[in-house]
């Protein structure tokens, strides 16, 4: 089910890890201007689905379709950057890999925007909150049309959370798409247009936030 032109779609996508099935064959579309929330208990398959949509994991079955030219930014649940490099060096490296035309400028812009330390300190020695901000900043390199966020606000202070959602909303308002996994009811209600609920690797609900709130499953998941 989708409410807008899809930018990103999973078609019968499934993923197994050895004998364990993390995600049963799943269809999902993320449309332009849409903010989709993935909910479900731990181990339901939310992170796997986001990693598959991001292209960080290869599906065991099915395909991921991406609209031509659509760039995807991915914020994994655990920060993904090089601990021995500084925040700036991480941003510059990923900016080059994302083929940003001016990597140093892009890094500087994101350092300022996320209020990250500008010194040579190794990012591994930063606070948990700073590392998560760096994780978010890296995902925004390459000017993504789609942002996939896996429980992005877990380590952020209220001010950083607010700024994150401002960014998300501005991306959505510019015609981009956002999908985020969360366990936070408030975020769900405040930021999601659409909710997809997963349980045991299966989609058990796909609808608007209002429809979701009427479902008895909501108590279980959120």
């Amino acid at each position: 089910m989708t409410h807008a032109q899809p930018v990103l779609a999973a078609r019968g996508v499934a993923r197994r890890f050895g004998a364990q099935t993390a995600l049963e064959p799943t269809d999902l579309e993320v449309g332009e201007g849409e903010t989709l929330a993935l909910v479900g208990p731990n181990g339901a398959g939310k992170s796997t689905l986001l990693a598959l949509l991001a292209g960080a994991l290869e599906p065991t079955a099915g395909t991921i379709e991406r609209r031509d030219g659509a760039r995807v930014g991915w914020v994994p649940q655990r920060p993904a950057h090089y601990g021995r490099l500084s925040a700036r060096e991480n941003l510059e490296l990923f900016a080059r890999l994302e083929e940003e035309p001016r990597p140093a400028d892009a890094a500087e812009r994101l350092l300022a925007s996320f209020d990250l330390p500008r010194d040579d300190r190794a990012s591994g020695s930063l606070s948990v909150g700073n590392r998560q901000r760096l994780n978010l900043a890296i995902a925004l390199l390459g000017d993504p049309h789609v942002l996939l966020l896996d429980e992005p606000t877990a380590s952020l202070d209220p001010g950083q959370r607010r700024r994150l959602w401002e960014r998300v909303e501005s991306l959505r308002d510019a015609g981009g798409a956002v999908a985020f996994a969360t366990q936070n009811v408030e975020e769900l209600e405040r930021h999601a247009d659409r909710v997809v609920a997963l349980r045991d690797g299966r989609v058990v609900f796909d609808g608007t936030i209002a429809e979701y709130e009427r479902e008895p499953l909501a108590d279980l998941f959120a």
């Binding site: 021995r84 490099l85 990923f94």
Partner: protein, 441 residues
């Protein structure tokens, strides 16, 4: 291009881990030193038991020459360490491997030696296995040295009789003393006799005999040693600076370094949780493996060149024979890159299979030791080790380095070993690329 970005990142990370760098450099050098010590120990004197069933006297007079038995044994046993043991203790120590051989002096040995009717015998008993032929050779060398000492004594004794016949004087034989006129005395006596054809004939005989006996000294020594080995003064290098040691030290150091580094570096991409970010179109798994192989090749080149340089400086300062073949360093550089890449590819395979940097480092250390030791075992001694070693880069690296530095015409050997290294690198890299999917899990 993207592989180069990752390579730059890895070099930067490496530069920021000085302790790791020092350990990675010091550890293989330490192992190389220990291997050298073990090799030195292996070539040192093996312990051989001497069982004296004949109660050898402290001194022995043979051919008129007095031998101090213990001193003589000490003098001739340069290649073995002889320890006097009782028959039972010798048997026990041979069984447990505390001695590698037992040389028994059987009853009647000294009597046979004195009588010279038949050759007295020494009985040699060795353990089974690899050391046995070497110990046998060393004991043969000991017997050869003993024979030479005795031979010299007998020749001296015989020559004393020859000199008595030539010049006359007092002598003794089997305890009986005698006086002999000698050819010199005979000639003097002949001068007092009336001339005549019979006297001329006797005088000619005396002259001929003197001439012939004058040659006896050299002739006796020559027949005793139809071929004599004369050792020229030392002109070669010490063992520590030999071509073989340089090749092994280089190969061993870069084996440890590159294998551990490549395995750890690949697995670290997963540890840092970056692998997923890279794999979503930023850097392919093949490029990721290639970046780690490049890192290994580059580090092997840098470290190997530094070791070769240090070696060369020591050789030049020491004025060692042959000098350091500086003109061959570029060829050595090619070998270092190929060997580093090949070992790095094996390292990436280990990194992909283990998936976690600490496990990868541990497994690499566990793997590198047999890889190195297989390469150290002479294939002619254990053929299986040779076949296994052929499937691993270490032995090819050693042969490449040795040929590149010291062979007069290195090209055939260098081309063959380069082909091996490239082939092995391709196989390991392909396996690592396939295995790298496991990192995404």
């Amino acid at each position: 291009m993207r592989a180069l970005l990752l390579l730059r990142k890895d070099l930067r990370v490496l530069r920021r881990s000085p302790l790791l760098l020092v350990v990675l450099l010091a550890y293989p050098l330490l192992v190389a030193g220990l291997v050298g010590l073990v090799a030195g120990y292996a070539s040192s004197k093996p312990r051989v038991a001497l069982v004296d069933e004949d109660n050898l006297p402290a001194t022995l007079v043979l051919g008129g020459h007095r031998f101090h038995v213990d001193r003589t044994i000490a003098r001739v046993s340069h290649d073995v360490k002889l320890v006097r043991l009782s028959p039972d203790e010798a048997e026990r120590q041979l069984r447990t491997g505390k001695v590698v051989a037992v040389v028994t002096v059987p009853r009647g040995f000294v009597a046979d030696l004195r009588a010279m009717v038949r050759s007295p015998q020494l009985v040699l008993q060795t353990t089974h296995g690899g050391l046995s032929p070497r110990v046998t050779q060393q004991v043969q060398a000991l017997v050869y040295s003993l024979n030479r000492e005795l031979q010299r004594a007998y020749i001296e004794s015989n020559l004393r009789y020859v000199r008595l016949i030539l010049h006359g004087g007092d002598g003794s034989f089997l305890g009986r003393k005698f006086r002999i006129l000698g050819l010199d005395g005979t000639e003097r006596e002949l001068r007092n006799l009336p001339p005549g054809p019979r006297l001329d004939a006797i005088r000619r005989f005396v002259d001929d005999a003197r001439l012939a006996l004058a040659e006896t000294d050299d002739a006796l020594r020559a027949t005793a040693n139809p071929i004599e080995l004369v050792q020229a003064p030392d002109r070669g290098r010490t063992w520590a600076l030999s071509a073989q040691v340089q090749a092994y030290a280089l190969a061993l150091t870069i084996s440890f370094l590159t294998l551990v580094l490549a395995a750890g570096a690949l697995a670290a991409e997963r540890d840092e949780n970056v692998i997923g970010r890279l794999a979503r179109g930023l850097v392919g798994l093949g490029e990721l493996v290639a970046a780690k192989i490049l890192l290994a090749a580059l580090v092997a080149l840098g470290v190997g060149a530094a070791i070769a340089l240090a070696f060369g400086i020591v050789i030049q300062i020491g004025g060692v024979t042959g000098g350091e073949p500086w003109s061959r360093l570029p060829l050595l550089g090619v070998g270092l890159v190929l060997a580093g890449a090949s070992l790095g590819a094996l390292g990436t395979l280990l990194g992909a299979l283990t998936r976690e940097s600490r496990t990868a480092s541990l497994v690499s250390l566990l793997v590198v030791l047999p890889v190195v030791f297989l390469g150290l075992v002479p294939p002619e001694v254990v053929p299986v080790a040779g076949y296994l070693s052929d499937a691993l880069p270490f032995a090819h690296a050693v042969r490449f380095f040795g040929a590149a530095l010291y062979d007069a015409s290195p090209w055939a050997a260098v081309a063959r070993e380069a082909a091996w290294l490239v082939g092995l690198a391709a196989v390991f890299a392909a396996a690592a690329r396939a295995g790298a999917r496991r990192l995404l899990v």
